[in-house]
């Protein structure tokens, strides 16, 4: 029998916990798809429907590169908007290209639930017990939440490190340690150790630094390649960055806070406006109240929920007096154009701050 090799698309650093989970739950080989490059996007766009959103193209590119390298089981998640329908169309396109593979989706009926996930893993690994499944799923979620916690600290401070790349190098070390997690206690120890180390990194941070919040569609927020390394570029400009959208928020926190988020939207939203639109409106309003200097909204071209949110965000921007820069990413977006706009935005909020003082 042929050896089973699992692969999945990239999103930020989350390949580490996903790889960990898959290694523990299945007895197959795990293959990471090659890091995203321009070629990935070209491959993906070539075979995608015309005006599908950009994450679809990146995912498809990842799949093709993995299949070329020998993977034969692919995984997809889904939910909220048309993301829930990715799995079926991608599967069909890849079958049409003549690849031979099995395709599994973590979601059923557009919902991510533990039972449907268990059923899916049971298909791959028949010996899997529910206790083992739950143990490792919760452990992985915990790992993700620790990673996100550290990321939040890094984002706020990476622009002010005294020694260049000290954050980046330490983060790489942490990722290596996380891969060999043995259990909850070991995971917690790793977290505490690195949390201390990160806070020891010497900073040169003025108390009145510029603050920018990032809101928007989840994939373009979280995958640095797809937003042309927005956060890195911002860090070079010495600003504090804040971003609520991460996997912990989307998978866990959001579920229990729907009503609170809608309340935070105030008069701007009476109902939920679909996918993460409501969250972004509430986040924009909250950050404006906290005194942030500007917001950056990212989305793929044609993202329906975010377009709905944009009409509302424009009013938030006017009423709460907070500038918002809107980025739309597509396969033809030019990197220079983004840099120019980002620089102009930075100059604008800097001048605004000086005028107010």
């Amino acid at each position: 029998m042929k050896k089973k090799i699992i692969s999945f698309p990239h999103m930020g650093n989350y390949y580490i916990p996903i790889k960990y989970l898959l290694t523990k739950l299945t007895n197959c080989d795990i293959m990471l798809s090659p890091p995203i490059t321009k070629k990935t996007l070209e491959l993906g766009s070539k075979y995608s429907p015309d005006f599908v959103c950009i994450p679809f193209k990146y995912n498809l590119g990842n799949y093709i590169e993995s299949l070329e390298n020998g993977a034969n089981i692919l995984m997809q998640c889904g939910g909220g908007c048309r993301y829930g329908y990715y799995a079926e169309v991608q599967q069909q396109i890849l079958k049409g290209l003549g690849y031979n593979f099995e395709f599994y989706s973590l979601t059923e009926n557009d919902k991510l639930a533990a039972i449907s996930m268990y059923r899916m893993f049971k298909k791959i690994n028949k010996k899997l017990s529910i206790v083992k499944f739950l143990y490792y799923t919760i452990l992985t979620l915990k790992m993700i939440s620790y990673m996100d916690k550290i990321d939040i600290y890094i984002r706020a401070n990476i622009g002010f490190e005294e020694e260049e790349k000290s954050f980046e190098n330490l983060l790489k070390e942490m990722h290596k340690d996380l891969e060999s997690t043995k259990g909850f206690i070991h995971l917690r120890k790793t977290y505490i150790k690195y949390n201390k180390l990160f806070r020891k990194i010497k900073l040169n941070k003025p108390s009145n630094c510029l603050k920018i919040g990032i809101i928007g569609e989840l994939y373009t927020c979280m995958e640095p390649f797809s937003n042309y390394f927005l956060e890195k570029n911002l860090a070079k400009m010495n600003v504090e960055i804040s971003r609520r959208t991460n996997v912990t928020y989307l998978v866990i926190k959001k579920r229990f806070n729907t009503k609170k988020i809608l309340r935070e939207c105030g008069n701007y939203c009476k109902y939920t406006i679909g996918a993460d639109g409501t969250d972004n409106v509430s986040e924009a309003r909250m950050l404006a109240k906290k005194g942030y200097d500007g917001l950056i909204h990212t989305k793929p071209f044609g993202c329906t929920p975010e377009i709905g949110a944009m009409s509302i965000l424009q009013k938030v921007s006017k009423k709460e007096k907070i500038p918002i820069l809107y980025f739309t990413f597509d396969s033809h977006t030019s990197e220079e154009g983004i840099k120019t706009r980002l620089e102009a935005f930075y100059d604008m909020i800097k001048m605004r701050r000086e005028n107010n003082e």
Partner: protein, 308 residues
């Protein structure tokens, strides 16, 4: 508030084409005046474009233009908000956000109802909600709703019956238009295409005319995972008419989210002549004509081959 003078504005776009029979007779029964915006014209499109985000779908831009026409002419504008019509199903997120988008862009009074079956907010409750905000009694509202619902069902049945008649009697080429009703019947989006098709001596079958019971599970022939109610209905309709037609036109507005993926499914699983026409605000008629003519040529050739 004096009810006799209350006028409600209904924008002739989006859900109007689906639910107007229901709305019209409901307000009629309650004795409330209704003002419609005119058929979509260039002025409405231009207004809509300037009011909405560049990337919004064309249907939503047109809707904004219609709302803009009604502002200051009426007391309330009817804007429904529908999240979920059946369990495990959803609508395009534009319909979720419709109320909030209009409320944030325009400064006008909105008559709003909300349907979200998952949370127990059914259509009936939604209509009670609008009746209450018009100061009508419970009994009045329920009678009006029941009558309106019957009228709605009857007119749907009648349209389906007429279409079946056409299918059975027609000897011309039968072309199925697969598109949301707010595209098919819109003066700027669907009508030029229907005119061109009629010139080519064809009969047009509309995918959005169907009997709900009959198409219930038919969408599974194309895709069993699709969860948008309106897309499900279109796919079901397509499968339903599939054996009786000669060609299919998938009419999509740019950049429709659900259609971008379901079209892909249709195109790969169907063996009839099929064409995907994408309309945006810049579409010219000359290009359209060439495409439709050549499409009809293909349909004719295929038919010849089949008959031989």
């Amino acid at each position: 508030m004096n009810n006799k003078n209350t006028t409600i504005g209904i924008p002739k776009a989006l859900l109007y084409y689906k639910y107007n029979d229901l709305w019209e007779s409901f307000f009629n029964e309650l004795g409330i005046n209704v003002l419609y915006s005119p058929e979509t014209n260039n002025e409405i499109l231009e207004r809509g474009k300037s009011l909405s985000i560049d990337e919004s779908c064309l249907a939503l831009k047109i809707f904004m233009g219609h709302v803009d026409y009604l502002v200051n002419k009426v007391d309330y504008i009817l804007i429904p908000r529908i999240e979920c019509l059946k369990k495990h199903e959803k609508l395009c997120t534009n319909f979720y956000a419709l109320y909030d988008i209009v409320n944030n862009i325009f400064n006008t009074k909105i008559l709003n109802y909300n349907i979200d079956v998952k949370k127990g907010k059914t259509e009936k409750k939604a209509f009670i909600q609008i009746g209450k905000s018009l100061n009508k009694s419970h009994v009045e509202i329920l009678t009006a709703y029941n009558i309106a619902k019957n009228v709605f069902k009857e007119s749907k049945k009648q349209r389906y019956f007429d279409q079946l008649n056409l299918l059975n009697t027609s000897t011309k080429n039968k072309i199925l238009i697969v598109s949301h009703p707010y595209n098919t019947y819109d003066k700027l989006i669907g009508e030029p295409i229907i005119k061109l098709l009629k010139k080519q001596n064809t009969d047009i079958i509309y995918c959005d005319v169907f009997d709900e019971e009959e198409i219930k599970n038919k969408h599974t022939h194309i895709s069993d995972k699709v969860y948008w109610t309106y897309s499900k209905e279109l796919l079901g309709g397509l499968v339903n008419y599939y054996k009786h037609i000669d060609g299919i036109i998938l009419l999509t507005v740019f950049p429709c989210g659900p259609d971008s993926l379901t079209n892909e499914m249709c195109m790969s699983k169907i063996n009839l002549p099929i064409i995907n026409i994408i309309i945006d605000e810049l579409s010219g008629e000359a290009g359209l004509q060439t495409r439709i003519e050549s499409f009809i040529d293909i349909v004719n050739e295929k038919k010849k081959v089949k008959n031989n």
